[in-house]
């Protein structure tokens, strides 16, 4: 894990997601008891009551569920200012029961449309990603 201060928002059970991205692994959690996919990660399965999650490595392959082209960088993500306009998106992951992960477009905008296949590219931590290793998503052509 990098030394950058970690982001405090959200539930906070997603540490293994970010740790794995630093190793070049995309993984999402599922309940060890009933197998339900749980994203965002949580501490207990609300369906079966299990406290155990298993993190499942997946191919970073998805479908573009929705997107926006941002023409300004809001205060909380000001470090993206030099990228404006930049495209962010939700990637639907069929292998994880259709769970959706947040991402940014990587590479060309050619073919940008809801429903197109997209593929995750492992990106190292940078100031733009607030020191986190991330997946950039590129359109599969």
């Amino acid at each position: 894990m990098s030394q950058t201060p970690r982001i405090r928002g959200g539930i906070g059970a997603d540490g293994p997601y970010w740790d794995a991205l630093e190793r070049g692994v995309f993984q999402l959690p599922r309940c060890a008891g009933c197998g339900a996919w749980m994203w965002p990660a949580h501490y207990r399965c609300g369906d079966c009551g299990s406290w155990d999650m298993e993190w499942v490595p997946l191919d970073p392959i998805g479908t573009l569920y929705t997107w926006t082209r941002m023409h300004q960088a809001p205060v909380l993500v000001r470090e993206r200012i030099e990228d404006v306009p930049y495209v962010t998106l939700l990637a639907e992951i069929p292998a994880a029961g259709g769970k959706r992960v947040v991402g940014a477009l990587h590479g060309s905008e050619d073919g940008l449309a809801i429903g197109v296949p997209i593929r995750g590219v492992f990106l190292p931590p940078s100031p733009k990603t607030k020191g986190y290793a991330t997946l950039g998503w590129e359109i599969v052509r």
């Binding site: 928002g9 965002p40 997107w67 300004q72 998106l89 947040v102 809801i114 990603t129």
Partner: protein, 385 residues
């Protein structure tokens, strides 16, 4: 036991709206001004206030304001556990306190002044935005709402609905001298030519960030009848999050819902009314598509019929089928985390709006759309009880 009709809003107070960062007073002084104005409107001595409720990241607490208001006995104070989604829910908390005997005169308030706080979009989401959003350049408000709006268009709701909501706000602002958009009529051409903020959101699809404060005073229905203003009775103001909603980080279903489907069901059941009965609505529009989703969640239209229902002519007072945001709303009146919508919902019941819907008896106010926990409220005149 239902809270239906057991309490009423009997006082409303607001400061002027100032461009963010330019208020002549610090934030807490604005809050005090709004609260004192609401008490004067109600004919209540501020010293008799015994409860405060707010929502979101409000920092001006009852205990801090107690000395300046001369309170004799602060008996109840609470914060609704959410952002702009908490406004109607704050009314329910206040009503529950009154009906259960915890307090008698409860203020619901919100104040924002960037000079003594920080930028609203930061103040309300700092340390609350999950990592997967921030590391990808997605703030919790704008980019996230833009993504949802893009999907809504994909599902069949035309951009013209967003434009109609924006133009309705500006249309109403022309009759409201206090609105920040007063004197600035928004034409179709100006809307279309305005810059993108985050596609599909144009500049005019986005709410402002203002310095201002607003407050309302709630008392029991019995007490309300003896006061000087026509009471706006609280018929229902459910708060909550359905099983598929809550903090799911955009994995909620349906994705283009703003979490109000179950709330609306509870609202209509508790109040005994339905969408076709509503005379006027203040619909929280941080962004116009989120307001469209709130109206869909409430059953005013479907994704399929939105293009026919959410038209400029339908959304304007006095003659539209569902006039919305009759003071100008968050977009054209001013934005203090949505709180400006509530006094306007009350004015419609009183018959004192600058864009009055003739004979309005049922007045809706929806809370912040898309909050992980949100709420919605129906106010009514005494004939609706």
């Amino acid at each position: 036991m239902s809270l239906r009709g057991k309490t009423a809003i009997v006082g409303i107070g607001q400061t002027p709206y100032y461009k963010r960062g330019t208020a002549p007073d610090p934030e807490q002084k604005l809050a005090l001004r709004a609260i004192v104005a609401a008490c004067e409107d109600a004919g209540i001595d501020p010293r008799d206030i015994d409860g405060f409720v707010s929502y979101g990241s409000e920092r001006n607490t009852g205990q801090q304001m107690l000395p300046a208001l001369g309170l004799r006995d602060l008996r109840f104070a609470a914060l609704a556990w959410t952002h702009g989604g908490g406004i109607p829910g704050a009314l329910t908390i206040a009503a529950a306190a009154i009906v259960s005997g915890q307090a008698e005169i409860v203020v619901v308030h919100r104040a924002m002044a960037e000079g003594s706080n920080q930028r609203l979009q930061v103040a309300v989401t700092q340390d609350e935005t999950p990592a997967q959003f921030l590391v990808n350049g997605v703030d919790f408000i704008l980019a996230r709402s833009a993504q949802r709006a893009m999907r809504l268009i994909h599902e069949g709701v035309p951009q013209e609905c967003f434009e109609a909501i924006a133009r309705a706000g500006y249309f109403h602002a022309q009759n409201n001298p206090g609105a920040m958009g007063h004197g600035h009529m928004l034409t179709l051409e100006a809307y279309a030519a305005s810059r993108w903020i985050g596609e599909p959101l144009h500049l005019y699809d986005c709410s402002r960030e203002s310095d201002a404060a607003a407050a309302v005073v709630l008392v029991s229905a019995e007490r309300a009848r003896d006061l000087r203003q026509k009471p706006a009775y609280l018929l229902s103001a459910p708060m909550g999050a359905g099983a598929s909603q809550g903090s799911r980080e955009d994995n909620h279903e349906p994705y283009t819902s703003v979490g109000m489907i179950g709330l609306a069901d509870r609202l209509w059941r508790e109040s005994g009314y339905g969408p076709s009965d509503v005379d006027v609505a203040q619909v929280y529009e941080n962004f116009t598509p989120m307001a469209a989703m709130a109206l869909i969640d409430h059953g005013f239209c479907t994704r399929e019929s939105a293009g026919d229902v959410l038209t400029f002519d339908n959304l304007i007072a006095p003659a539209g089928k569902l006039p919305i945001n009759t003071s100008g709303g968050n977009i054209a009146d001013g934005f203090i985390h949505g709180m400006g919508l509530l006094p306007e919902a009350v004015r419609q019941i009183r018959g004192t709006s600058t864009n009055q819907v003739p004979g309005a008896r049922l007045s809706l106010m929806t809370g912040g759309p898309g909050d992980s926990l949100t709420s919605t409220a129906l106010l009514g005149s005494d004939e609706t009880l």
